[in-house]
Protein backbone atom coordinates (compact mmCIF):
# COMPACT_ATOMS: atom_id res chain seq x y z
CA UNK A 1 0.00 0.00 0.00
CA UNK A 2 2.72 2.51 0.98
CA UNK A 3 4.93 1.83 -2.05
CA UNK A 4 1.88 1.93 -4.28
CA UNK A 5 0.86 5.35 -2.98
CA UNK A 6 4.43 6.59 -3.21
CA UNK A 7 4.57 5.63 -6.89
CA UNK A 8 1.13 7.13 -7.56
CA UNK A 9 2.11 10.30 -5.73
CA UNK A 10 5.36 10.67 -7.61
CA UNK A 11 3.61 10.14 -10.93
CA UNK A 12 1.02 12.77 -10.17
CA UNK A 13 3.62 15.06 -8.58
CA UNK A 14 5.92 14.91 -11.58
CA UNK A 15 3.08 16.09 -13.80
CA UNK A 16 2.10 18.90 -11.40
CA UNK A 17 5.73 19.97 -11.21
CA UNK A 18 6.07 20.18 -15.01
CA UNK A 19 3.00 22.41 -15.26
CA UNK A 20 3.96 24.43 -12.19
CA UNK A 21 7.30 25.28 -13.80
CA UNK A 22 5.50 27.16 -16.57
CA UNK A 23 3.57 29.23 -14.02
CA UNK A 24 6.60 29.99 -11.94
CA UNK A 25 8.91 30.88 -14.84
CA UNK A 26 6.42 33.30 -16.37
CA UNK A 27 5.70 34.80 -12.96
CA UNK A 28 9.41 35.15 -12.24
CA UNK A 29 9.93 37.13 -15.40
CA UNK A 30 6.68 39.06 -15.95
CA UNK A 31 5.04 38.92 -12.51
CA UNK A 32 2.02 37.63 -14.39
CA UNK A 33 -0.06 34.64 -13.40
CA UNK A 34 -0.62 33.05 -16.76
CA UNK A 35 -4.09 31.59 -16.28
CA UNK A 36 -4.05 30.26 -19.84
CA UNK A 37 -1.22 27.89 -18.94
CA UNK A 38 -3.55 25.06 -17.89
CA UNK A 39 -5.12 25.26 -21.35
CA UNK A 40 -1.74 24.66 -22.97
CA UNK A 41 -1.54 21.45 -20.98
CA UNK A 42 -5.03 20.49 -22.22
CA UNK A 43 -3.99 21.27 -25.80
CA UNK A 44 -0.97 19.02 -25.32
CA UNK A 45 -3.26 16.14 -24.39
CA UNK A 46 -5.55 16.72 -27.39
CA UNK A 47 -2.66 17.13 -29.80
CA UNK A 48 -1.32 13.81 -28.50
CA UNK A 49 -4.57 12.09 -29.39
CA UNK A 50 -4.69 13.75 -32.79
CA UNK A 51 -1.10 12.93 -33.77
CA UNK A 52 -1.21 9.41 -32.39
CA UNK A 53 -4.48 8.85 -34.22
CA UNK A 54 -2.87 10.08 -37.39
CA UNK A 55 0.16 7.84 -36.96
CA UNK A 56 -2.14 4.86 -36.29
CA UNK A 57 -4.10 5.65 -39.43
CA UNK A 58 -1.00 5.68 -41.60
CA UNK A 59 0.26 2.51 -39.93
CA UNK A 60 3.31 3.95 -38.21
CA UNK A 61 2.13 2.85 -34.76
CA UNK A 62 2.02 -0.81 -35.72
CA UNK A 63 5.31 -0.46 -37.59
CA UNK A 64 7.19 1.10 -34.69
CA UNK A 65 5.39 2.24 -31.54
CA UNK A 66 8.40 4.02 -29.98
CA UNK A 67 8.96 6.02 -33.16
CA UNK A 68 5.30 7.01 -33.29
CA UNK A 69 5.40 8.08 -29.63
CA UNK A 70 8.59 10.10 -30.04
CA UNK A 71 7.14 11.90 -33.07
CA UNK A 72 3.91 12.54 -31.18
CA UNK A 73 5.84 14.08 -28.29
CA UNK A 74 7.99 16.23 -30.53
CA UNK A 75 5.05 17.51 -32.60
CA UNK A 76 2.88 18.23 -29.54
CA UNK A 77 5.71 20.14 -27.90
CA UNK A 78 6.32 22.18 -31.06
CA UNK A 79 2.62 22.98 -31.45
CA UNK A 80 2.11 23.90 -27.78
CA UNK A 81 5.26 26.01 -27.73
CA UNK A 82 3.95 27.88 -30.76
CA UNK A 83 0.66 28.41 -28.95
CA UNK A 84 2.49 29.76 -25.90
CA UNK A 85 4.68 32.00 -28.04
CA UNK A 86 1.68 33.37 -29.96
CA UNK A 87 -0.44 33.92 -26.84
CA UNK A 88 2.32 36.02 -25.30
CA UNK A 89 2.67 38.12 -28.45
CA UNK A 90 -1.08 38.66 -28.90
CA UNK A 91 -2.47 38.79 -25.38
CA UNK A 92 0.34 39.89 -23.03
CA UNK A 93 2.96 41.86 -24.92
CA UNK A 94 0.65 44.76 -25.87
CA UNK A 95 -0.26 45.06 -22.18
CA UNK A 96 3.26 44.99 -20.79
CA UNK A 97 3.11 48.55 -19.52
CA UNK A 98 -0.55 48.42 -18.53
CA UNK A 99 -1.68 48.07 -14.89
CA UNK A 100 -0.99 44.58 -13.56
CA UNK A 101 -4.65 43.58 -13.53
CA UNK A 102 -5.02 44.00 -17.32
CA UNK A 103 -2.76 41.14 -18.48
CA UNK A 104 -4.31 38.96 -15.77
CA UNK A 105 -7.77 39.52 -17.22
CA UNK A 106 -6.37 39.00 -20.69
CA UNK A 107 -4.98 35.64 -19.48
CA UNK A 108 -8.39 34.58 -18.21
CA UNK A 109 -9.84 35.60 -21.58
CA UNK A 110 -7.32 33.44 -23.44
CA UNK A 111 -8.14 30.55 -21.13
CA UNK A 112 -11.89 30.82 -21.80
CA UNK A 113 -11.27 31.20 -25.52
CA UNK A 114 -9.05 28.12 -25.75
CA UNK A 115 -11.46 25.95 -23.77
CA UNK A 116 -14.35 26.87 -26.03
CA UNK A 117 -12.26 26.60 -29.13
CA UNK A 118 -11.35 23.02 -28.26
CA UNK A 119 -14.92 22.23 -27.19
CA UNK A 120 -16.29 23.45 -30.51
CA UNK A 121 -13.71 21.72 -32.68
CA UNK A 122 -13.30 18.49 -30.69
CA UNK A 123 -16.69 18.13 -29.04
CA UNK A 124 -17.77 18.39 -25.41
CA UNK A 125 -17.54 14.67 -24.66
CA UNK A 126 -14.53 12.79 -23.32
CA UNK A 127 -11.99 11.65 -25.85
CA UNK A 128 -10.24 8.35 -25.34
CA UNK A 129 -6.49 8.14 -25.52
CA UNK A 130 -5.38 4.90 -27.23
CA UNK A 131 -4.54 2.12 -24.73
CA UNK A 132 -0.96 1.41 -25.64
CA UNK A 133 0.67 -0.34 -22.72
CA UNK A 134 -1.66 0.64 -19.97
CA UNK A 135 -1.76 -2.74 -18.25
CA UNK A 136 1.84 -3.78 -18.74
CA UNK A 137 4.28 -3.16 -15.94
CA UNK A 138 6.74 -4.64 -13.46
CA UNK A 139 6.62 -5.85 -9.87
CA UNK A 140 8.50 -3.61 -7.46
CA UNK A 141 8.62 -4.46 -3.73
CA UNK A 142 5.31 -6.26 -4.02
CA UNK A 143 3.66 -3.44 -5.90
CA UNK A 144 2.62 -3.30 -9.50
CA UNK A 145 4.17 -0.34 -11.32
CA UNK A 146 2.99 0.29 -14.85
CA UNK A 147 5.33 1.31 -17.65
CA UNK A 148 3.34 4.49 -18.05
CA UNK A 149 4.11 5.41 -14.44
CA UNK A 150 7.79 4.62 -14.83
CA UNK A 151 7.86 6.68 -17.98
CA UNK A 152 6.14 9.66 -16.34
CA UNK A 153 8.42 9.65 -13.30
CA UNK A 154 11.56 9.25 -15.41
CA UNK A 155 10.55 11.84 -18.00
CA UNK A 156 9.63 14.43 -15.36
CA UNK A 157 12.91 13.87 -13.54
CA UNK A 158 14.97 14.18 -16.72
CA UNK A 159 13.13 17.30 -17.88
CA UNK A 160 13.52 18.97 -14.50
CA UNK A 161 17.23 18.19 -14.34
CA UNK A 162 17.75 19.51 -17.87
CA UNK A 163 15.83 22.67 -17.06
CA UNK A 164 18.00 23.23 -14.01
CA UNK A 165 21.15 22.81 -16.08
CA UNK A 166 19.73 25.11 -18.72
CA UNK A 167 19.01 27.86 -16.23
CA UNK A 168 22.27 27.67 -14.33
CA UNK A 169 24.72 26.90 -17.12
CA UNK A 170 23.62 28.32 -20.44
CA UNK A 171 23.76 31.88 -21.64
CA UNK A 172 20.01 32.05 -22.22
CA UNK A 173 19.48 30.67 -18.72
CA UNK A 174 21.68 33.37 -17.21
CA UNK A 175 19.86 35.99 -19.26
CA UNK A 176 16.55 34.65 -17.91
CA UNK A 177 17.73 34.97 -14.34
CA UNK A 178 19.01 38.47 -15.05
CA UNK A 179 15.67 39.53 -16.59
CA UNK A 180 13.79 38.00 -13.66
CA UNK A 181 15.82 40.07 -11.21
CA UNK A 182 15.84 43.42 -13.00
CA UNK A 183 14.36 43.91 -16.46
CA UNK A 184 15.66 47.44 -17.07
CA UNK A 185 19.16 46.55 -15.95
CA UNK A 186 19.13 43.41 -18.08
CA UNK A 187 18.33 45.48 -21.16
CA UNK A 188 21.16 47.82 -20.19
CA UNK A 189 23.68 45.02 -20.39
CA UNK A 190 22.46 44.25 -23.89
CA UNK A 191 19.93 41.48 -23.26
CA UNK A 192 16.95 41.52 -25.61
CA UNK A 193 14.04 41.27 -23.17
CA UNK A 194 11.53 40.17 -25.81
CA UNK A 195 13.66 37.20 -26.84
CA UNK A 196 14.01 36.09 -23.23
CA UNK A 197 10.27 36.41 -22.58
CA UNK A 198 9.46 34.43 -25.73
CA UNK A 199 11.95 31.74 -24.72
CA UNK A 200 10.27 31.51 -21.32
CA UNK A 201 6.85 30.96 -22.87
CA UNK A 202 8.22 28.45 -25.36
CA UNK A 203 9.93 26.37 -22.67
CA UNK A 204 7.04 26.57 -20.21
CA UNK A 205 4.51 25.57 -22.87
CA UNK A 206 6.71 22.71 -24.05
CA UNK A 207 6.83 21.32 -20.51
CA UNK A 208 3.05 21.66 -20.18
CA UNK A 209 2.60 19.80 -23.48
CA UNK A 210 4.66 16.88 -22.18
CA UNK A 211 2.63 16.89 -18.97
CA UNK A 212 -0.66 16.89 -20.89
CA UNK A 213 0.38 14.05 -23.12
CA UNK A 214 1.57 11.92 -20.22
CA UNK A 215 -1.60 12.49 -18.22
CA UNK A 216 -3.70 11.58 -21.24
CA UNK A 217 -1.76 8.34 -21.55
CA UNK A 218 -2.04 7.72 -17.80
CA UNK A 219 -5.77 8.29 -17.31
CA UNK A 220 -6.81 7.42 -20.85
CA UNK A 221 -9.44 10.18 -20.99
CA UNK A 222 -9.21 13.75 -22.19
CA UNK A 223 -11.76 16.52 -21.91
CA UNK A 224 -11.74 20.18 -22.92
CA UNK A 225 -11.95 21.25 -19.27
CA UNK A 226 -9.04 19.25 -17.83
CA UNK A 227 -6.79 22.30 -18.06
CA UNK A 228 -8.79 24.13 -15.43
CA UNK A 229 -8.32 21.72 -12.50
CA UNK A 230 -4.78 20.81 -13.48
CA UNK A 231 -3.96 24.49 -13.83
CA UNK A 232 -5.31 25.32 -10.38
CA UNK A 233 -3.43 22.39 -8.84
CA UNK A 234 -0.18 23.30 -10.54
CA UNK A 235 -0.62 26.93 -9.59
CA UNK A 236 -1.08 25.77 -5.99
CA UNK A 237 2.12 23.76 -6.31
CA UNK A 238 3.97 26.81 -7.58
CA UNK A 239 2.69 28.95 -4.71
CA UNK A 240 3.50 26.19 -2.24
CA UNK A 241 7.10 26.13 -3.41
CA UNK A 242 7.30 29.91 -3.64
CA UNK A 243 6.11 31.41 -6.91
CA UNK A 244 8.98 32.59 -9.08
CA UNK A 245 11.33 29.89 -7.76
CA UNK A 246 12.16 27.07 -10.15
CA UNK A 247 13.29 24.51 -7.54
CA UNK A 248 10.23 25.60 -5.52
CA UNK A 249 7.87 24.62 -8.34
CA UNK A 250 9.54 21.23 -8.72
CA UNK A 251 9.42 20.53 -5.01
CA UNK A 252 5.92 21.97 -4.61
CA UNK A 253 4.58 19.83 -7.45
CA UNK A 254 5.98 16.60 -6.10
CA UNK A 255 4.88 17.43 -2.56
CA UNK A 256 1.34 18.15 -3.77
CA UNK A 257 1.21 14.87 -5.68
CA UNK A 258 2.35 12.92 -2.62
CA UNK A 259 -0.09 14.69 -0.29
CA UNK A 260 -2.97 13.92 -2.62
CA UNK A 261 -2.17 10.30 -3.12
CA UNK A 262 -1.40 9.52 0.55
CA UNK A 263 -4.36 11.40 1.95
CA UNK A 264 -6.68 9.73 -0.56
CA UNK A 265 -5.39 6.33 0.51
CA UNK A 266 -5.08 6.79 4.28
CA UNK A 267 -7.75 9.33 5.14
CA UNK A 268 -10.47 9.60 2.56
CA UNK A 269 -10.50 9.92 -1.17
CA UNK A 270 -13.60 12.11 -1.20
CA UNK A 271 -11.73 15.12 0.07
CA UNK A 272 -8.50 14.40 -1.77
CA UNK A 273 -8.46 17.82 -3.41
CA UNK A 274 -9.12 19.58 -0.13
CA UNK A 275 -6.01 18.26 1.66
CA UNK A 276 -3.70 19.91 -0.82
CA UNK A 277 -5.32 23.24 -0.16
CA UNK A 278 -5.29 22.73 3.62
CA UNK A 279 -1.54 22.14 3.46
CA UNK A 280 -1.19 25.19 1.26
CA UNK A 281 -3.00 27.37 3.77
CA UNK A 282 -0.88 26.05 6.64
CA UNK A 283 2.38 26.65 4.79
CA UNK A 284 1.38 30.13 3.71
CA UNK A 285 0.52 30.94 7.33
CA UNK A 286 3.98 29.93 8.43
CA UNK A 287 5.92 31.19 5.41
CA UNK A 288 3.86 33.54 3.24
CA UNK A 289 6.42 33.58 0.42
CA UNK A 290 6.23 29.79 -0.01
CA UNK A 291 8.80 27.13 0.85
CA UNK A 292 11.56 28.34 -1.48
CA UNK A 293 10.33 31.88 -1.95
CA UNK A 294 12.35 34.86 -0.93
CA UNK A 295 10.80 37.69 1.00
CA UNK A 296 10.41 40.58 -1.37
CA UNK A 297 12.99 43.26 -0.76
CA UNK A 298 11.90 46.85 -0.83
CA UNK A 299 13.16 48.52 -3.94
CA UNK A 300 14.89 51.80 -3.22
Amino acid sequence: MFTQQLINGLTLGGVYALIALGYTMVYGILELINFAHGEIYMLGAYLGIIFLGFFTAIGLTSYSLPLALILTFILSVIFCSSYGFTIEKIAYKPLRNAPRLSPLISAIGVSIFLQNYVMLTQGATDKIFPHLFEKAGIELMGTRVTYTQIFIIAASAILMLSLNLFITKTRMGKAMRAVAQDKVMASLVGININTVISATFIIGSGLAAVAGLMVAAYYGLVNYSIGYIAGIKAFTAAVLGGIGSVPGAMFGGILLGLIESFSAAYISSEYKDAYAFIILIIILFIKPSGLFGKTQEEKV
Partner: protein, 253 residues
Protein backbone atom coordinates in the same frame (compact mmCIF):
# COMPACT_ATOMS: atom_id res chain seq x y z
CA UNK B 1 36.19 63.50 -33.25
CA UNK B 2 33.03 63.75 -31.20
CA UNK B 3 31.74 60.50 -29.84
CA UNK B 4 28.45 61.76 -28.53
CA UNK B 5 26.37 64.66 -29.63
CA UNK B 6 23.23 65.80 -27.83
CA UNK B 7 21.11 68.36 -29.64
CA UNK B 8 18.27 70.33 -28.05
CA UNK B 9 17.31 67.40 -25.86
CA UNK B 10 14.02 68.00 -24.08
CA UNK B 11 12.05 65.78 -21.74
CA UNK B 12 8.78 66.76 -20.16
CA UNK B 13 6.92 64.62 -17.67
CA UNK B 14 3.42 66.04 -17.90
CA UNK B 15 3.90 69.67 -16.89
CA UNK B 16 7.32 69.13 -15.39
CA UNK B 17 10.24 70.15 -17.55
CA UNK B 18 12.93 67.67 -16.54
CA UNK B 19 15.34 68.71 -19.30
CA UNK B 20 14.95 71.71 -21.58
CA UNK B 21 16.88 72.01 -24.85
CA UNK B 22 20.17 70.69 -23.53
CA UNK B 23 23.02 70.47 -26.01
CA UNK B 24 26.59 69.30 -25.56
CA UNK B 25 29.22 67.13 -27.20
CA UNK B 26 31.69 64.67 -25.74
CA UNK B 27 35.12 64.11 -27.26
CA UNK B 28 36.31 60.56 -27.72
CA UNK B 29 38.61 59.46 -24.92
CA UNK B 30 37.68 62.31 -22.59
CA UNK B 31 36.24 62.41 -19.10
CA UNK B 32 33.26 64.68 -18.73
CA UNK B 33 31.19 65.49 -15.67
CA UNK B 34 27.59 66.53 -15.43
CA UNK B 35 26.87 68.43 -12.25
CA UNK B 36 24.00 70.37 -10.83
CA UNK B 37 21.81 70.60 -7.73
CA UNK B 38 19.30 67.87 -6.92
CA UNK B 39 16.47 67.69 -9.44
CA UNK B 40 18.53 69.31 -12.17
CA UNK B 41 17.68 66.51 -14.61
CA UNK B 42 21.00 64.68 -14.59
CA UNK B 43 19.62 61.16 -14.20
CA UNK B 44 16.82 61.87 -16.69
CA UNK B 45 19.54 62.87 -19.15
CA UNK B 46 21.28 59.50 -18.57
CA UNK B 47 17.95 57.70 -19.00
CA UNK B 48 17.47 59.41 -22.36
CA UNK B 49 21.00 58.59 -23.46
CA UNK B 50 20.53 54.89 -22.67
CA UNK B 51 17.07 54.54 -24.17
CA UNK B 52 15.18 53.96 -20.92
CA UNK B 53 13.27 57.21 -21.41
CA UNK B 54 12.18 58.54 -24.76
CA UNK B 55 12.95 62.24 -25.10
CA UNK B 56 10.08 64.62 -25.87
CA UNK B 57 12.19 66.51 -28.39
CA UNK B 58 15.74 66.68 -29.63
CA UNK B 59 18.27 64.18 -30.85
CA UNK B 60 21.14 62.09 -29.60
CA UNK B 61 23.79 60.75 -31.91
CA UNK B 62 26.62 58.42 -31.24
CA UNK B 63 29.41 58.57 -33.82
CA UNK B 64 26.94 60.29 -36.16
CA UNK B 65 24.48 57.42 -35.65
CA UNK B 66 21.10 58.63 -34.50
CA UNK B 67 20.15 56.69 -31.33
CA UNK B 68 17.03 58.60 -30.32
CA UNK B 69 14.16 56.16 -29.94
CA UNK B 70 16.27 53.00 -30.00
CA UNK B 71 15.69 50.34 -27.35
CA UNK B 72 18.20 50.07 -24.47
CA UNK B 73 19.69 46.77 -25.67
CA UNK B 74 20.30 48.19 -29.16
CA UNK B 75 22.05 51.22 -27.68
CA UNK B 76 24.23 48.91 -25.57
CA UNK B 77 25.21 47.09 -28.76
CA UNK B 78 26.31 50.40 -30.29
CA UNK B 79 28.69 50.83 -27.37
CA UNK B 80 27.05 52.73 -24.51
CA UNK B 81 27.08 51.28 -20.99
CA UNK B 82 26.00 52.71 -17.67
CA UNK B 83 25.95 52.22 -13.91
CA UNK B 84 23.34 53.38 -11.44
CA UNK B 85 23.44 55.63 -8.44
CA UNK B 86 21.60 53.04 -6.37
CA UNK B 87 23.35 49.79 -7.17
CA UNK B 88 21.45 47.50 -9.53
CA UNK B 89 23.41 44.28 -9.63
CA UNK B 90 21.83 40.91 -10.31
CA UNK B 91 22.09 40.26 -6.58
CA UNK B 92 21.26 36.57 -6.62
CA UNK B 93 23.83 35.71 -9.26
CA UNK B 94 27.51 35.25 -8.59
CA UNK B 95 30.04 38.00 -9.25
CA UNK B 96 31.38 36.31 -12.36
CA UNK B 97 27.89 35.53 -13.69
CA UNK B 98 27.05 39.23 -13.45
CA UNK B 99 29.95 39.98 -15.74
CA UNK B 100 29.38 37.01 -18.05
CA UNK B 101 25.76 37.89 -18.70
CA UNK B 102 26.88 41.29 -19.98
CA UNK B 103 28.96 39.72 -22.71
CA UNK B 104 25.76 38.31 -24.18
CA UNK B 105 25.41 41.00 -26.78
CA UNK B 106 28.96 40.44 -28.03
CA UNK B 107 28.76 36.69 -28.60
CA UNK B 108 27.59 34.79 -31.60
CA UNK B 109 26.58 31.19 -30.82
CA UNK B 110 22.85 30.78 -30.61
CA UNK B 111 20.55 28.67 -28.49
CA UNK B 112 20.87 25.61 -30.69
CA UNK B 113 24.63 25.39 -30.41
CA UNK B 114 24.27 25.92 -26.65
CA UNK B 115 22.05 22.86 -26.46
CA UNK B 116 24.24 20.63 -28.57
CA UNK B 117 27.34 22.19 -26.98
CA UNK B 118 29.18 22.52 -30.26
CA UNK B 119 32.93 23.15 -30.37
CA UNK B 120 32.39 26.72 -31.34
CA UNK B 121 30.10 27.23 -28.39
CA UNK B 122 32.50 25.67 -25.91
CA UNK B 123 35.40 27.79 -27.13
CA UNK B 124 33.29 30.88 -26.91
CA UNK B 125 32.15 29.91 -23.41
CA UNK B 126 35.82 29.62 -22.39
CA UNK B 127 36.68 33.00 -23.87
CA UNK B 128 33.74 34.60 -22.07
CA UNK B 129 34.93 33.23 -18.75
CA UNK B 130 38.52 34.34 -19.33
CA UNK B 131 37.39 37.80 -20.34
CA UNK B 132 35.08 38.02 -17.34
CA UNK B 133 38.03 37.26 -15.06
CA UNK B 134 40.06 39.96 -16.80
CA UNK B 135 37.35 42.52 -16.16
CA UNK B 136 37.13 41.45 -12.54
CA UNK B 137 40.89 41.82 -12.22
CA UNK B 138 40.65 45.34 -13.57
CA UNK B 139 38.35 46.33 -10.71
CA UNK B 140 40.16 44.15 -8.17
CA UNK B 141 37.42 41.58 -7.59
CA UNK B 142 38.96 38.46 -9.17
CA UNK B 143 39.18 36.78 -5.76
CA UNK B 144 35.40 37.05 -5.31
CA UNK B 145 34.38 35.54 -8.66
CA UNK B 146 32.13 32.88 -7.13
CA UNK B 147 30.66 35.01 -4.35
CA UNK B 148 26.99 35.92 -4.60
CA UNK B 149 26.91 39.54 -5.78
CA UNK B 150 24.41 40.72 -3.17
CA UNK B 151 26.72 39.72 -0.31
CA UNK B 152 29.66 41.90 -1.40
CA UNK B 153 30.44 45.03 0.63
CA UNK B 154 29.10 48.32 -0.74
CA UNK B 155 32.29 49.62 -2.34
CA UNK B 156 32.93 46.31 -4.09
CA UNK B 157 29.38 46.25 -5.43
CA UNK B 158 29.99 49.66 -7.00
CA UNK B 159 33.16 48.34 -8.61
CA UNK B 160 31.36 45.21 -9.83
CA UNK B 161 28.78 47.45 -11.53
CA UNK B 162 31.64 49.04 -13.43
CA UNK B 163 33.11 45.65 -14.39
CA UNK B 164 29.69 44.60 -15.64
CA UNK B 165 29.40 47.80 -17.68
CA UNK B 166 32.83 47.30 -19.25
CA UNK B 167 31.95 43.72 -20.16
CA UNK B 168 29.50 45.00 -22.78
CA UNK B 169 32.61 46.44 -24.50
CA UNK B 170 31.40 50.04 -24.57
CA UNK B 171 33.09 53.06 -26.05
CA UNK B 172 31.13 55.37 -23.81
CA UNK B 173 30.56 54.67 -20.12
CA UNK B 174 28.00 56.65 -18.14
CA UNK B 175 28.64 56.57 -14.40
CA UNK B 176 25.85 57.81 -12.14
CA UNK B 177 27.46 59.01 -8.89
CA UNK B 178 30.26 56.43 -8.78
CA UNK B 179 31.62 57.66 -5.46
CA UNK B 180 28.32 58.26 -3.63
CA UNK B 181 28.49 56.88 -0.10
CA UNK B 182 32.18 56.08 -0.26
CA UNK B 183 34.86 56.98 2.27
CA UNK B 184 37.86 59.09 1.14
CA UNK B 185 40.04 56.05 0.51
CA UNK B 186 37.40 54.27 -1.60
CA UNK B 187 36.78 57.53 -3.45
CA UNK B 188 40.47 57.75 -4.28
CA UNK B 189 40.47 54.18 -5.58
CA UNK B 190 37.41 54.91 -7.70
CA UNK B 191 39.11 57.93 -9.25
CA UNK B 192 42.10 55.76 -10.10
CA UNK B 193 39.77 53.21 -11.70
CA UNK B 194 38.02 55.87 -13.79
CA UNK B 195 41.41 57.13 -15.02
CA UNK B 196 42.37 53.56 -15.85
CA UNK B 197 39.22 53.24 -17.96
CA UNK B 198 40.23 56.37 -19.83
CA UNK B 199 43.67 54.88 -20.48
CA UNK B 200 41.88 51.89 -22.01
CA UNK B 201 40.42 54.30 -24.54
CA UNK B 202 36.94 54.62 -23.05
CA UNK B 203 35.04 57.88 -23.03
CA UNK B 204 33.47 58.59 -19.66
CA UNK B 205 30.62 60.81 -18.60
CA UNK B 206 29.86 60.94 -14.92
CA UNK B 207 27.25 62.48 -12.72
CA UNK B 208 28.94 63.43 -9.49
CA UNK B 209 28.35 65.52 -6.41
CA UNK B 210 31.83 65.24 -4.89
CA UNK B 211 33.57 68.36 -6.22
CA UNK B 212 37.01 66.93 -5.45
CA UNK B 213 36.29 64.11 -7.89
CA UNK B 214 34.71 66.40 -10.46
CA UNK B 215 37.51 68.96 -10.42
CA UNK B 216 40.18 66.29 -10.13
CA UNK B 217 39.45 64.15 -13.16
CA UNK B 218 37.13 65.95 -15.59
CA UNK B 219 38.35 67.70 -18.68
CA UNK B 220 34.99 69.21 -19.37
CA UNK B 221 32.03 69.96 -17.11
CA UNK B 222 28.40 70.56 -18.01
CA UNK B 223 26.28 72.26 -15.36
CA UNK B 224 22.52 71.71 -15.31
CA UNK B 225 20.02 73.58 -13.21
CA UNK B 226 16.28 72.94 -13.39
CA UNK B 227 16.78 71.03 -16.62
CA UNK B 228 18.66 73.83 -18.38
CA UNK B 229 22.35 73.90 -19.19
CA UNK B 230 23.71 76.95 -17.43
CA UNK B 231 27.42 76.50 -18.03
CA UNK B 232 30.00 74.36 -19.72
CA UNK B 233 33.76 74.42 -19.60
CA UNK B 234 37.01 73.33 -18.00
CA UNK B 235 37.09 72.89 -14.20
CA UNK B 236 38.80 76.27 -13.56
CA UNK B 237 36.18 78.15 -15.55
CA UNK B 238 33.31 76.39 -13.86
CA UNK B 239 34.73 77.05 -10.40
CA UNK B 240 34.68 80.79 -11.06
CA UNK B 241 31.42 80.97 -13.00
CA UNK B 242 28.96 83.20 -11.06
CA UNK B 243 25.89 81.43 -12.46
CA UNK B 244 27.14 78.09 -11.16
CA UNK B 245 27.89 79.53 -7.76
CA UNK B 246 24.43 81.03 -7.69
CA UNK B 247 22.76 77.75 -8.65
CA UNK B 248 24.54 75.93 -5.87
CA UNK B 249 24.56 78.53 -3.12
CA UNK B 250 21.71 80.86 -4.04
CA UNK B 251 21.90 84.59 -4.81
CA UNK B 252 23.87 86.86 -2.52
CA UNK B 253 21.70 89.34 -0.81
Amino acid sequence: MYLLEVRDLTKHFGGIRAIEEVRFRAKEGSIMSIIGPNGAGKTTLFNCLTGITRPTKGAISFFDMETTGLKPDSIVKLGVARTFQNIRLFREMTVIENVMVSQHCRTRSGLLSAIIRSNNFRNEEKTIKEKALEYLELVGLEAYADTVAGSLPYGSQKRLEIARAIATEPRLILLDEPTAGMNPQETGEMMELIKKLQELGKTIILIEHDMKVVMGISENIVVLDHGVKIAEGAPEEIRKNPMVIEAYLGKEH
